[in-house]
Amino acid sequence: MKKIVLLAALVLFCFSQAAQAETLKILTWKGYAPKELVEKFEKETKVKVEVTYSNNEEMIAKLRATRGAGFDLAQPSQDRISSVQEEFGLYQPMDFSKIESALFVASMLEAVKKNTLVKGQAYAVPFCWGTDGLIVNGEKAAGASSYNDLLSEKYKGRVSYRVKRPTLIAMGFALGYKPFDLYADPAAYQAMLDKVEKTLIAAKPMVKNYWTNGDALLESMRSGEVFVAMAWDNGGWKLHGENKAIDFVAPKEGALGWIDTFALPAKAENVAAAYKWINFMTKPENAAYFTNQEKTATASKDANAQVAADFRSNLERCFPQAAVDNIKWYPPVPAKLESMEGTVLDKIKAAQ
């Protein structure tokens, strides 16, 4: 008898574990799933959230290794979806009937739909957006306002940027090219890359370090080791909150605009929970919380009213209408360009 009771208890225990064990596995960027919001979501839906931090390249590699399994939701940038979808089939089409479209800024939803279109089906909805530009220490490098300032002798040893594709694109603009117009013409794009490569290798003595970790870069700016960096606007605004001398600057060549999305991996196991998370994060109060926390604007339509004043003043200060109009939004990247860029990036890193 005792044994039976014990067995029954054990079975019950296992079942209750299974019932609780509904999970949502999110592959995203650091900061995109704030702890408070995760807890709120878990309480509302009883779905357990597991978050893995990554970046665009690693997201693609991780999903490619499993052919789109292992995660229920990914958050790649909108320009990095269609080409990998065509080549590797990592994602499944969005079912827009399960998305509360009314929550989104309509124009952004449309733009992302259009940019992630593969064979007539869209693969993503927008989550948040921001720009790549300069973070400048106004006391040490007053007036730095162009990508060319990253090459300037004036800031020798006080410059930092990533050896990644945004830097190549920014330098393309600084050298007077129109990189996005060259996407369709690999030969012309290669010519631009060659020029950018020479420029960046020649400017290597100006560089303190090529940053790879956002927090480490912010630390170098904070301690005054770096005066001018190419980085994301939200980092600049975080620093501005601590030290008014440091701020984000939209370069005169144009800040580079990105939109990070929600996309469903091809073999996602819990798609229902993924849709729940998308709608949850886009609700005005949750989106506003995220914006205040991470200094990143979202695609949520009514969040603005609840966003803290300091974030709105950041936008107004750094992005007057002319700077907004000048933002260069990334169009979808053709697959072939990435390996061309890879070789150039290796050469820049290896050069002495």
């Binding site: 690693e58 303190k208 080791e225």
Partner: protein, 283 residues
Amino acid sequence: MRAKAAFWIFLAPVLAWLLLLIVLPHIDLLVMSFRSRNPGGDPGWTLVNYQRFFIEPIYWRTFVRTAIYSTITTVITFFLAMPVAFYIAKAAAVRLRGFLLILLLLPFWVSELVRVYGWMILLRESGVVNYFLIRFGLLTQPVEMLYRDATMIMGLVYSSMLFMVVPLVSVVESLDDALIEAAYDLGAGKWTIWWRIIIPHCKPGITSGSIVVFMLSLGNYMTPNLLGGKNSLWFTEQIYNQFIASFNWNQGAAFGFLLLLLSSAIIWAGLRLSGQKLGQVAS
């Protein structure tokens, strides 16, 4: 008969582990390295991925650089580890030996990443070392100590010391003190004793330690990347870049196998030069 069955039962998990997690993935990578990257089309067999390593100077140069720096690391590690090992095995009191070995082991209780970040906090321009140097008037301006080749080698030596000391301690321990005493009696100087008695006796330990340190440095990713900074392209990083940044797994797989082949060749050459056999070293 029964003993034989038991033998296979116990061996089965090991074989399964080797086959499923090591042999099969390597075969997959090997096949991949001979295929061209041709999205959508027929991926034919090709040597292009291997050719690119030799045609594009940046790739083989990075490899040469990585190999040279790993060799330097190995040599420096040996020169630092030899006196330490000798002291632990011969000079220190028996009771102290275990304690000293544990002291060497202690840093390995935290992960390599944490240790490297520790070095970064110490050596950065606004870091601890600079602070004290300025405080004591040895420097007037802080100096950036990170992102230099020397710093990178120091980090590599630091993280591989233990793997040199442990094999050295065990060979030095097996050296009969009487040999050293006899050499003194016969009038040999200190350097002669080192050169003609201690070093030849320790050869197997030196070789196995060197192989481990060399391979660990060659295959390290984090230390060169974080401490070496802007000029620090390491061959492993290039493999990573092919897989992750360029999405070119075929090229990355080919680089991986080249790393395996070339490093094995270097070790083979090292064994030949020092007149040793791998079997002796491993035993």
